[in-house]
Amino acid sequence: MTDAVLSVRNLVVEFPTRRGILRALDGISFDVGPGEILGVVGESGAGKSITGSAIIGLLDPPGRIAGGEIRLKGERIDNLPTERLNRIRGKRIGMVFQDPLTSLNPLFTVGQQLAETIQHHLRLGERESRQRAIDLLAEVGIPAPEARIDNYPHQFSGGMRQRVVIALALCAEPDFVIADEPTTALDVSVQAQVIQVFRRLCRERGTSAILITHDMGVIAEAADRVAVLYAGRIAEVGAVRDVLKRPLHPYTQGLMGSIPSLTGEGERLVQIPGAMPRLNAIPEGCAFNPRCPRVMDICRRERPPLIDADGACVTCWLYDERTEQPPAREAPAVGRPA
């Protein structure tokens, strides 16, 4: 895809430690098209958040990008010096973190923080910035924005704060937004509201986004495509409906089956035996092979490439033409009932 807003190719992130180098991300590739929301989903330690931090250049030391490239509208951003990166962060890439309280300064009013960001990135005057901040607060659904703009973060509830953070991420009209677990700290009823706001704003402004979450429900609600990560590698990328309804990778199939259904008869949940490997003990071949119910010989020897299968991409030997049984895409036995 050449018109991708964000393009990640073979991204490798390493953490050098005293006991050797840990690979947190190992050859991640994906594209995010214009106006598209890509969900990045995985369990703890799969490398979701690291993906977000690597893109925006905020890896915690000693973490470093050890290979691959990240392009924003064709321009490489993974090897920029800090000063140039600073002009991209906030201006061209907005960021929404999990806990809104850590993104907002408790000592300044919401209006001051919004106006400062707008002034800095858009070079607007004080009065215009303030007006713009009020408009933004109205857009994210904060009632009476003219009055609320002079409130401090602690005067807002959790859901309202996260709306402010979304406004902050979007105020410089970035090309791209990274939202890292934006609704995890919120209650279900508020979560639904915040997801709607996020999705609507990205749609209206044509902003592309990465939505990092562990919650398949959030992915189903907000994303267009989804990348499933496992042990720092991509298991599967595809349209949300395909991946959720008819997952290809045995890991995704297990993952979907392990989520309690809202409609079934309360049958036993699918269990994936074992746990995700630690970074210092990733097995040879496919990282999922010791837990995989359909493991073959080749899975233990060779790492599967990203294989095109039925519109999606999956890293699993089952879908390689060279293996004997090319399975047609069908509702898997272990998946959730349709």
């Binding site: 369990e43 979560q191 959030v218 189903a220 409906r241 989520i259 309690p260 809202l262």
Partner: protein, 356 residues
């Protein structure tokens, strides 16, 4: 599976619909006033948060009652009072007919305490990092004088096997285990005193979904095998639906609705239950219409008068603003605290939002 259920337990579970736990008019206030000096100088009154305001429910033998609610609804406060970790301000909790907070029952309590245990949310905080796992699990055996010496060692190994760990794991320390394995250790410890009733406060909230599935399956197996009764506390409606026989929905310290699990999802009665079910992300992608609930939970320091849900309720009328609704039993067996449902102006759930 952990093996077939002993016949007598199954018989007991099926024949008996008697209540293990009876909670009546449970109230818990927390005093959050500033210090006396501060109040005197600035003329502030005392401030009291009503975390739980008059909750009543029964848990029948062998069933799972789930309490579900958003943060601040009083779920965990109720759990702590039921296991005896937090004294109630008013009301009573009877376990097997004995009021656990009545001082007159104190002598009986030691024996009773063996029979109910708790599993906590955070398996990283609820295991002593300096103790070996075998000592952690042996502690209840020791405290209640159930076994000693060699028998204890055998029993610990047995308990570890029950939760799908190995007896050798007993030699390790908690930090050597993953979150899911630690939660298994917590379950093994809770089972050590052979309880009949377990209070599980968000037992899987700290775990990934695939690990959550392992723990939920284990808990169901144990219930089948040992005839356990669960009070299951969670904010996750899908998990609650999977685990519970009956569900109580809490809102701001009060029960809005108590109903059988499947019936509640098929036909939620209380407007809050409806909007809560409506707010669950549609993971089956059925394209069902969703109307997210507006507003947020009010400040419990200053709860709205009348029905506490009325500022967010799409059906609210004048009576809801004045009068606190009392729970009434519907023909279906659901208990609902809503004027609108009682008087019939909150209609059936629209066809679009019913489960498929």
């Amino acid at each position: 599976m952990v093996g077939p259920a002993p016949a007598d337990l199954v018989a007991r579970r099926e024949a008996a619909s008697d209540s293990v736990v009876e909670v009546r008019g449970l109230v818990r206030d927390f005093d959050v006033s500033a210090s006396w000096l501060h109040r005197t100088l600035s003329g502030e009154p005392r401030r009291v948060v009503k975390a739980v305001g008059g909750v009543s429910f029964d848990i029948r033998r062998g069933e799972t009652l789930a309490l579900v609610g958003e943060s601040g609804s009083g779920k965990s406060t109720i759990a702590k009072m039921v296991v005896g970790l937090l004294p109630p301000t008013a009301g009573s909790i009877r376990i097997d007919g004995t009021d656990i907070w009545d001082p007159a029952n104190a002598p009986k309590l030691r024996d009773l305490r063996r029979r109910f245990q708790m599993i906590f949310q955070d398996p990283f905080a609820s295991l002593n990092p300096r103790w070996r796992v075998r000592d952690i699990i042996a502690e209840p055996l020791d405290v209640f004088g159930i076994t000693r010496g060699r028998a204890t060692r055998d029993r610990v190994g047995e308990l570890l096997t029950t939760v799908k760990l190995t007896p050798e794991d007993g030699e390790k320390y908690p930090h050597q285990f993953s979150g899911g394995q630690r939660q298994r250790i917590c379950i093994a410890r809770a089972l050590a005193s052979e309880p009949e009733f377990l209070v599980c406060d968000e037992p899987t909230s700290a775990l990934d979904v695939s690990v959550q599935a392992q723990i939920l399956n284990l808990m169901r197996d144990l219930q089948d095998r040992l005839g356990l009764t669960y009070l299951f506390i969670s904010h996750n409606l899908a998990v609650v639906r999977h685990m519970a026989d009956r569900i109580g929905v809490l809102y701001l310290g009060g029960l809005a609705e108590v109903a059988p699990a499947k019936a509640m999802f098929r036909d939620p009665r209380h407007p809050y239950t409806r909007s809560l079910i409506d707010a669950i992300p549609d993971i089956d992608m059925t394209g069902r219409e969703r109307t997210p609930i507006t507003g947020e939970i009010p400040n419990p320091l200053d709860p709205p008068p009348g029905c506490t849900f009325h500022p967010r309720c799409p059906f609210a009328r004048e009576r809801c603003r004045r009068e606190v609704p009392r729970a009434f039993a519907e023909a279906s067996g659901a208990l609902v605290a809503c004027h609108g449902v009682e008087e019939g102006w909150v209609g059936q759930a629209p066809a679009g939002q019913k489960a498929v």
